[in-house]
Symmetry: C2
Subunit: 218 residues, 2 copies
């Protein structure tokens, strides 16, 4: 059965999944790369970016890599929110095709949720972006069908993940609590009182100082 | 030098240090005892409550006890917010003397911050409650003097701790992140962007599933 899984969702200790003032130069706003800095030393990220040959994997990142790698296993499609596809206003730029260049790391169909859909964009390496203005359940149904028996990754950002959680559509959620206080931004957890009652919850702190928390539907 | 230390501050994963609807019957509001349930199996709590003879300490609680015990070491005075001394409205009840019976577990002077001060209350075992309507720095100065070279514990609740953090008065903060979503209540972290920059921060998840996070001023 196809599951909906969200992985590697960085959160500040005060619960923000991204900052304020996102732009082309600052995809995460004032948060910068701090919510993802644990990810960059992982083998998973370095293989993706082609840095594996020249960057040593730090040993402290090995436990983090256990989590980082899972995000890419058994995934047949991704769903992302509009804020992950581009900076505010990308819908007004007909030439914008996403942050990831000619060969994005997804290698599957990717469904971008936006109120301003456009024609699909096919990239090298098997990634095709589709744009949908539809409720989460409908987009998930379409992505699940496209996933050919594999799972669907909910790629974020936090607003999108929260919508899927609120609709009861998430089978597995992996957040990474980074011990910083952003003070401002988009909260992941708002309106989700009692969420843990529907999940098995596990936590582990790794040597890099972040805490991985997983919610898994029994 | 006397330090100001806050320990065993339970927080939900969504950042709430207490719930809503506090009352005589529900000191933590709708949160119930969930933010402190990790504490009850610890040796520290059981010794305090006199249950040590009849309740087995669970082995999974031993790592938690390392943290639980520190709260009581080297403390010469406590400061607490009004909400820790009694339920909403206790200021209107001249007979209210706190939640802790005839022999409270503090065994030091305790300074209760309230806009409705009353005469000091002396209890058995060395606990005396003093009531102060003064800024955090002033109350801390008085408590520090009373601590006779030991440290001052900031006993909570979250509103009180946040005020001391915002004023830059906290030398050590220990929070315990419990993997539940309260959805509503009092947030500890509001208005504290960048707090971590002034502290060494450490995190560890224990077998009970909570994550202890400490902020220590270098």
């Amino acid at each position: 059965m196809t599951r909906a899984r969200a992985h590697n969702i960085g959160l500040s200790l005060d619960g923000f999944g991204t900052g304020v003032d996102q732009s082309l130069e600052a995809p995460f706003g004032h948060a910068g790369i701090r919510l993802m800095s644990w990810y960059f030393p992982t083998r998973t990220f370095q293989v993706q970016t082609g840095d594996r040959e020249r960057v040593e994997v730090e040993s402290a990142a090995d436990p983090d890599d256990v989590f980082a790698a899972r995000a890419w296993e058994g995934i047949g499609a991704e769903i992302m929110g509009a804020g992950k596809f581009g900076p505010p206003g990308w819908q007004d730029d007909p030439d914008w095709t996403g942050w990831w260049g000619d060969e994005p790391p997804f290698h599957t169909p990717v469904y971008v949720m936006t109120h301003a859909p456009r024609a699909s964009i096919e990239k090298a390496g098997g990634t095709t972006f589709h744009f949908r203005d539809a409720p989460p359940a409908d987009v998930l149904a379409e992505a699940s069908a496209a996933a050919s028996g594999l799972d669907v990754r909910l790629g974020g950002g936090p607003t999108s993940i929260r919508e899927f959680l609120a609709a009861g559509l998430v089978d597995h959620l992996h957040v990474v609590v980074v011990p910083i206080l952003l003070g401002r931004g988009v909260r992941l957890w708002d309106g989700l009182e009692g969420l843990e009652e529907s999940y098995a919850v596990e936590s582990v702190t790794t040597p890099s100082g972040v805490t991985h928390v997983t919610f898994t539907r029994p």
